[in-house]
Amino acid sequence: MAEAPAKRITDIGPPHFEKFLPPIVKKNYGKWKYHEILKPGVMVHTAESGDKLYTVRAASPRLIAVDTIRMFADLADKYCGGHLRFTSRNNVEFLLTDPSKIDALVADLAKEGFPIGGLGAQISNIVHTQGWVHCHSAATDASGVVKSVMDALMPYFKGEKRLPAKTRVALACCLNMCGAVHCSDIAILGVHTRPPKVKNDVLKKLCEVPTTVAACPTGAIRPANVDGFESVTVEEQLCMYCANCYTVCPAMPLNNPDTDGLSIWVGGKVSNARSEPRFSKLAIPFLPNNPPRWPEVVQAVTNIIEVYAANARNFERIGDWIERIGWPRFFKLTGIQFTRYHIDDFKHAGWTFKRSAHIKFDQD
C-alpha cells in the first residue's frame, strides 16, 4: 500500500443505499404484497399498507452520455420526487406515486428517444460488453450489434408482439464473456477462429514467457527460440482461440478482420422458474462480421424468436421449448444447418451425446 496524505479519503465503499430510496420505499421496505403489469413498460407494486408504487421502465443503450444522466435526473425531479433506479439489464426505471403522471413521463421519454417496455413476457434490454468502443480482445463490436438487433426486436420490447415467456438476449464480444452470456435464451458471442500470431521480435520485451505459457487452458503454448528471439510457439491444433494469452501478453494478437465473427447460442436461463438454470447451447457456429448493421446476425436472432413465438407453449422459455421438441426439430423448424461444429469435442464432450434410442421421426 502506498503512503497516502492524511486527508485523502479511501475505502469508504459506496454510499448507503438508504440515502437514495424514495420515501414510499423506505416506508414499505420489505412489506410489498404483490405487483401487476398494467401495460407494456408500466407496473405497479402494492404494499401491505395499501400504498402503490408505479414503475415505468425505459430502454437504455447502456453507453450513455452525462447529458442523458442529467436528463434522467430532470425527469426524476419532474415526476418522481427526484428518485430513480437502474436494472441489472441497464434499463432505467422511474418510480412514481401518482399514476396520473405516467403518460406525461412516457411522452417526455419518447421525445428524448427512450421508448418504454421490457417487462414480463417481453424482450428486455440486451446485456452486453464493450466491443470496439473500448476493449482489446473484441472479435466484434458490442453496441452496434445490440443496436441493430434491438431495432429489429422493438415490437417484442414494446409488447406489440407476444412471446410465450420472458426472453433474455445477451452479447459478449469474446470468449472472456465479461457479460457472462452463457445462460441466456439467446446469446450472441464474438469469436476468433484463428490462433494468435506471435510477435516473436517483441514478445520478450512485453511479456513473461512462463506467464504466457501458463495462460493457455489447453497447453497449446510452448516456450521456443524463434529466429534467435526468446519467444513461444502455438500448437495450432490445440488452440480454441480464447484470447487468454493475448490478455496476459499483447504480443499474441488474434484479432483478424476476415476470420473474426459471431456465433449464436440458445436455450440458457438463470431463473429457477419451472426448470433449472442451464447453459445456452450452440445454434450457429459462425456468422460474418458485417458492420454497421450486421444483417446476418439480426436475421438469425429474429428468425429464432419468430419460430419460438409461433411454436412454444405459454411459460416455456426457449430452452424449455427445445427440450420438449428435441434439438433435431429445433434445427428443422428454424432452418438452421446442423454441422460438425455442433458436436462437442472438448473435455467431457460425452455429456452432450445422445445416449439412448429415443429418437423422433417426422410424420409428414
Partner: protein, 394 residues
Amino acid sequence: MAKRETPMIDELRKGPYPSFVNEMYKLQGRKPMVQDLLGQLEDSYEQRIGHWKHGGIVGVMGYGGGVIGRYSDLSDKYPNVAHFHTMRINQPAGWFYTSQALRTLADIWERHGSGLTNMHGSTGDIVFLGTTTAELEPTFAELTAAGFDLGGSGSCMRTPSACVGPARCEWACYDTLKLCYNLTQEFQDELHRPMFPYKFKFKCAGCPNDCVASIARADMSIIGTWKDAIQIDQAEVEKYAKAGLDIEGAVVAKCPSQCISYNGKLTIDDGECVHCMHCLNVMPKALRPGRERGATLLLGSKAPIMEGALLSSVIVPFINIDDPEEYEQFKELVRRIWEFWDENGKNRERVGELIQRIGMPTFLDAVGLDPEPEMISAPRDNPYIFFQPEGEEA
C-alpha cells in the same frame, strides 16, 4: 482539425432503439476525446477490427484495482484517445439514485473524463469510460468527497451486487441490499487490493427468480428461499379463476414437482415444492413465499475462461441471513473459502475451477461443511472412489 466523416456508425443513429452513437454525438462538440473515439470507431467499422491496447498498470494511489488501462493503437491519428482508461465506481446497492447524486456523478465526469458512462457495467459498477492517467487522482478525490468509492478489478473481490429485493419486490426472502452493502463495507481491503488467485464475485438474489443472474455470474450466489408453506390467499385464487386464468393448465400442470392441486381451492404439498417460483410468478396476488425465510448458498459459477463455464452449485441448502450473528457466520464461511482458495488455487483459477480440480469432498472437508444430498443432482456413477483409511483426516 476538421471532424472526420463517420458514415458507417452514423447509420446506427437511425432506428427506434436508443442509439449509443447519438450518446457520443451529445458530447463530441465539447469533448475532443469523444470526437476521436467516433473517428477510431469508424476505422474499426471500416476495417472490422478493434484498435485498443491494454496493459500498463494505472490506478489511484494505494489501490490495486478499479481502473482499467486502455490505449489506442492509432494514437497518431487520434491523439485524444491515446489514453482512454476506464474507472469503475461502486454502485449503491440495488442501483437506486437521487437526481442530486446522479448530477454530482455527471458533473465530476464532465470535469475529468470523456463524459461517457455505462449505467452500469457487467459486474454492477458505474463505469466511467475514457480518461487520462493524470485525471485519475483528481477524479478519485472528487468521488470520495462526494461519498463514492471505486469498485474492483483484477484478482480481487469484485464489487458485490444485489437485486432490488425488499425495496420493491414482494418475493425477497432476505434483505439483499443490506447484505450487499454489508459485504462491500466489510471487505473493502479485499475489494481494493487484489491478493486472490483470481476474481471473486458475490451476487445477492432475493428469491429463486435470480434477477441478478447470480447462479451464472457469481462465485458466491446467495439465493433467497423459504422452508415452510407457501402462503395462499384462497379468495385471490378465486378472483384469478373468475378473471379467466386457467389455473389447471397454467399453474397445476406446469408445477415441476406436480405438488399443486385445484378443485375450487388450491392445495400445495409443500414438502414436495422445489421452490421454483412458477406458481408465485403466475399468481402474485394469491401466493406468497412462506414465513421461514433465508437463503440457499451456491458456489463456483463463472464464464468459460479458463477451464470452461460453470454454474454455481449448492454448498449450504438453507441459512438464515438476517441478524448480525448470522452475517458473521456467513462471513466466517467466506473467509474459510478464501483461505483455502488462496493456499491451493493456481494463478487465474476461480474457486469453482479449484473445486473441479481438487474435488468437492476435499473442499468440503477443508472449509468444514458436511456433505449433504442437496448438494448433488445424483451420486457419482463412476467407481473411482478414493477411500480414506479409517480415522485419518483428509
